[in-house]
Amino acid sequence: MTRGRIWRIPAIVVCAAALGLGSAPDAGAEYGDVVINKRAEKEGMRPVVFSHWFHRIRFRCKVCHFELGFKMRAGANDVLMADIIEGRFCGMCHNGQIAWSAENCDLCHSGLPGLKSGIYGGHDTLGPGRW
């Protein structure tokens, strides 16, 4: 072994440690993000992205999952755009009073085309197979 090589091993160890300590979490959606895309894309709109982190800063779970009656299962709520405009589902808040109104199409329809409905950003702990 030459002197040059001996130097490299510890240098690599230090660099790897430094990277390990400063590294970002696994790539992907923010924990709890929900994609709703039963009809949107078929009807020419981007899929809808709903962020739990953003909404739970403002509302407790009980507001949506108890008062407003959102079922706690991604895809279990059959949301139509007409319902929203009439003030149901997202439209119970996105009505120009509690939050901005349904005219802001792009703010909700912001998802990557091709995404399936479901919960994203998980830690792969759903199901013993993936655990």
Binding site: R3, E30, G32, S51, H52, M72, T125, P128
Partner: protein, 190 residues
């Protein structure tokens, strides 16, 4: 040759070791830096969507809240609420009854793992009783056949934990009570 290169080598290793100790110290003294992916690179938002200029970046909101490095949203939501960093609305309709129950349940069917403490207070601050009772859980200590397998399949506690509430990788947060220690003020399940 052998001798000289050995002493150079050991000096280099000493340097490496002190470098690593230094890093370890830095990571202990300064809280771990949290990083969130920008929306444009998170794999669910379309980078070409005009909304990305208006939507809030997770980093902007979440970096101000109690840290929980590398877990879920990297926010310790229970603490953020306790510390008053956030005060999310409990109801929209004025007539809705908002109830909180301060009662812990201990579940001891955990094999060699520590027992589970289920805290009603931390849950009922976020959730209404009816979200859990009586469909998901019967309101009777020991009255539900809870198992780790069904939790990992996304049922029982796993309905929320692993999806929105802190993930199932955090065993100790549920399995927090050592066997053989008396527990005052808690209801003992089975």
């Amino acid at each position: 040759m052998g001798r000289a290169s050995f002493s150079v080598g050991s000096r280099v290793w000493l340097f490496a070791l002190s470098g690593m100790l230094c890093l370890l110290w830095v990571s202990q003294v300064f809280p771990q830096e949290r990083k969130w992916l920008p929306l444009a690179a998170d794999g669910v938002h379309d980078p070409r969507s005009p909304a990305l200029k208006q939507l809030q970046e997770p980093r902007e909101a979440l970096s101000r809240l109690a840290p929980d490095p590398h877990v879920g949203n990297q926010v310790r939501w229970v603490k953020a609420l306790e510390l008053g960093q956030i005060n999310p609305r409990t109801n929209i309709f004025p007539e809705t009854k908002v109830s909180v129950l301060d009662q812990d349940i201990i579940m001891s069917n955990t094999g060699s793992r520590p027992k589970v403490r289920f805290p009603h207070k931390q849950h009922s601050l976020w959730l209404d009783c009816a979200i859990c009772h009586e469909q998901l859980f019967k309101s009777k200590a020991g009255g539900n056949n809870i198992s780790m397998l069904s939790i990992l399949e996304g049922q029982q506690c796993g309905l929320c934990h692993g999806a929105v509430a802190f993930p199932l990788t955090e065993c100790d947060r549920c399995h927090s009570v050592p066997h053989g220690v008396p527990i005052p003020d808690a209801i003992i399940g089975k």
